[in-house]
C-alpha cells in the first residue's frame, strides 16, 4: 500500500489556467451549542485541484454545505471570486442560485430522485429554466435535441447500462450524482467523497474527468477518505480538525507532518 503510494506518479500539472476562488471569512456554524466549523479566513481554489482531509467530525462536509448555503451560517461571509474579476457574496444568495454562478457540489450521502429515471435526472440537470414552464409543455424535444450529445458522452464514458431505467445500485446513484454536477458545467466544483462506493475502474474514470475539468479552468475541491485519491489528484491538501483548517500544503509535506500522522493517518501509515 505504502510502496504503491510512493511510486504513484505525481499528479500532472495542469495548464496554468487560474480558476475562480472562494473566500470563506469568519464562518462559524454550531449545532446545539457545539461548534462544528469555525474558519477565520480561508481561500479555496488557489490551485486547480485541492483536497480536504481530516478525521470524522472535523467539519469537512459541514463546511462544504455552508458554501452551498444548504446549511445556513451562524455568522460570516462566503464570497465567490470569479476568474473574470468582481465578487459574488454566496452566503447571501438562495441555495438555487449557486449553480447559476457555477458553484456545484456532489453529495456525500446518496441523493436521488426516486421517481426519475437516469435520462430524467440528467435532462433535469441540463434543462434551461425557460423550457421548464407550464406554457412550454411541448419543449421536451428541444431540450433533448440540445443536450443529447453531451449526456450520451457521459453515459457512454461511465457505461450506464440502460439510461431509460432507474438508477438502482448505490454506486450507480453516486455516479449519477456526479454526472449531474458535471452537466451543470461548474466553474467551481465541490466533490464530497466522490469515489466512495465506486468500483476501482470507475474511480479512475472519475479522477480522469476531474483532471480534465481542472485543466479546462474549473477549480475543484475534493473531500475524501480514500487518501489514494487525494495523493494522486491534488496539488494542495488542507487538513481539517475540530472545525478549523490546521495545515495546508502539497501532498508530500502533509503526509510527512507529525500532527497529521498522529491525529489521522495513524503511526503505521508512513
Amino acid at each position: 500500500m505504502v510502496a504503491e503510494l510512493l511510486e504513484a506518479p505525481a499528479a500532472p500539472a495542469p495548464a496554468a489556467v487560474a480558476g475562480p476562488r472562494i473566500r470563506i471569512a469568519n464562518a462559524v456554524k454550531s449545532f446545539s451549542g457545539r461548534v462544528v466549523v469555525d474558519v477565520d479566513d480561508l481561500v479555496l481554489g488557489t490551485r486547480p485541484i485541492e483536497g480536504l482531509i481530516g478525521p470524522n467530525g472535523a467539519g469537512k462536509t459541514t463546511l462544504m454545505r455552508m458554501v452551498m448555503h444548504s446549511t445556513p451560517l451562524d455568522r460570516g461571509t462566503i464570497t465567490l471570486l470569479p476568474t473574470a474579476g468582481g465578487e459574488v457574496v454566496l452566503s447571501s444568495l438562495p441555495a438555487h442560485a449557486m449553480a447559476r454562478h457555477g458553484v456545484v457540489k456532489s453529495n456525500q450521502v446518496i441523493m436521488d430522485f426516486d421517481k426519475l429515471t437516469i435520462w430524467d435526472s440528467l435532462l433535469l440537470a441540463v434543462a434551461e429554466g425557460r423550457y421548464e414552464q407550464p406554457y412550454r409543455v411541448f419543449s421536451e424535444r428541444a431540450v433533448f435535441g440540445r443536450h443529447e450529445a453531451e449526456i450520451r458522452h457521459y453515459l457512454d464514458y461511465f457505461g450506464f447500462a440502460d439510461p431509460t431505467a432507474f438508477a438502482l445500485s448505490a454506486g450507480e446513484k453516486k455516479l449519477l450524482d456526479i454526472v449531474r454536477c458535471l452537466l451543470l458545467k461548474p466553474t467551481f466544483l465541490l466533490l464530497d467523497e466522490p469515489t466512495a462506493g465506486l468500483p476501482e475502474q470507475l474511480t479512475e474514470k472519475v479522477m480522469t474527468t476531474i483532471r480534465e475539468l481542472a485543466a479546462a479552468g474549473t477549480s475543484v475541491v475534493v473531500v475524501e477518505h480514500d487518501l489514494n485519491v487525494i495523493w494522486h489528484l491534488c496539488e494542495d491538501v488542507l487538513f481539517m480538525a475540530e472545525g478549523k483548517v490546521v495545515l495546508r500544503g502539497d501532498p508530500p509535506s502533509i503526509r510527512a507532518n507529525r500532527t497529521v500522522v498522529e491525529k489521522y493517518l495513524g503511526e503505521g501509515h508512513v
Binding site: 441523493m111 426519475l116 423550457y131 414552464q133 409543455v137 421536451e140 431509460t164 451543470l184
Partner: protein, 313 residues
Amino acid sequence: MLDAFLISGLFGVVMVIGLGLLLHLELGLARIANFGVVGFFGLGMYVFGVLYVRVDWPFGDPWVFLVCALIATAAAGLAGLIVGWLIADLNTDGVLVGTLAFATAVAIVATTEAELTGGAEGMGGLAFPYDIGKVTDNELLWLVIATLVVGLIFAFVRQVHRSPYGRLLVAVGGNEPLARSLGKATFRTKFWLFGVASAGMGLLGVMDAVMLRFLVPANIGVDVTLAAMVGLVLGGTARAWGAVLGAFLSVGLFDIVLQGYLPAPTEDWSAQTLPVLREAMFGATLVVVLLFRPLGVLGDMRRDQLMRRLHGR
C-alpha cells in the same frame, strides 16, 4: 338521449375529474397537499356569478359569459399565486394551514357579502350562455362543453408528464433540496404551479356555476375538496388517468349508480341517508387506500416506460 338525472350525475363526475387532474399536478407530481381546492373552485364560481348577475353588461350572452368566465378564472389564478407565495417555503403542515385557511376565507366572504353573493340565502339569475330549446338539451350541451374543457385539462396534464416542466415538478416533489442544488428555483416553481392549477380550478367553478344556476355557500363546502382528493387518491395520485378512473369509481358509483339505479330501502334514503353515507365512505376510502395501497388502483408513475417511448434508442 340522456335524462336529466344522468346529465347532472355525469356532469358531477366530469367536474371531479377536472379538479382531480389539477390536484394531481400539485399532490401527485409536486407533492403539495392542497386542502383548499374548493377555495379556488368557489372563488371562480362566485366571481363569475357576481359579475354575471350584478353587472349590467352592454353586450349579449355568449360574450357576457366569456368575459365573466375569463375574469373569474384570472381571479382564481391570482388567488392561487397569493396562496402559492404563502406556502411555497412552508412544510406540509404549513401548506395544510395555508390552503385550509384560504378555503375558509372564501366561504366566509361568500356568506358575509350578501349584497353581492346573496349570502346564505343564495343567488339566482344565472343562465346558460345559449338557448337551444328544452332545459335538458341546454344541460346536455353544457355537459358536452364541460367534457371538452376537462378533456383539454387532461391533455395538458398528460403533456406535462412529457415535458421538462413535469420533470421539474416531479423533482421538486421527490427531493426539493437536491433540485435546488441543481439550480432549480423550487419556490418559484411552486408559486406558479399554484397559479396555473388554481386558475383551472376557478374555471371549473365557473362551469359548475352555470350548471347550478343558483349559488349557495353550501356548494363550496369541504366536500368538493374531498371528492377531488378521493377520486385522485383512489385512482392513483401519481397518474393522470388516476383522477379519471377514481372519479368514476367514487363519485360515479355513488351519484349515478347508487343514487339512480338502486332501489331505496327507506323513504329518506336518497335525499338524506345516501349523501351522508357517501361522505363517510369517501373518508373511509382515503384512510383505507392510503394505508393499504398508497398509490391507488393504478400504482406509481412509470417514467422508465415513458422515457423508453420518448428517448429510447
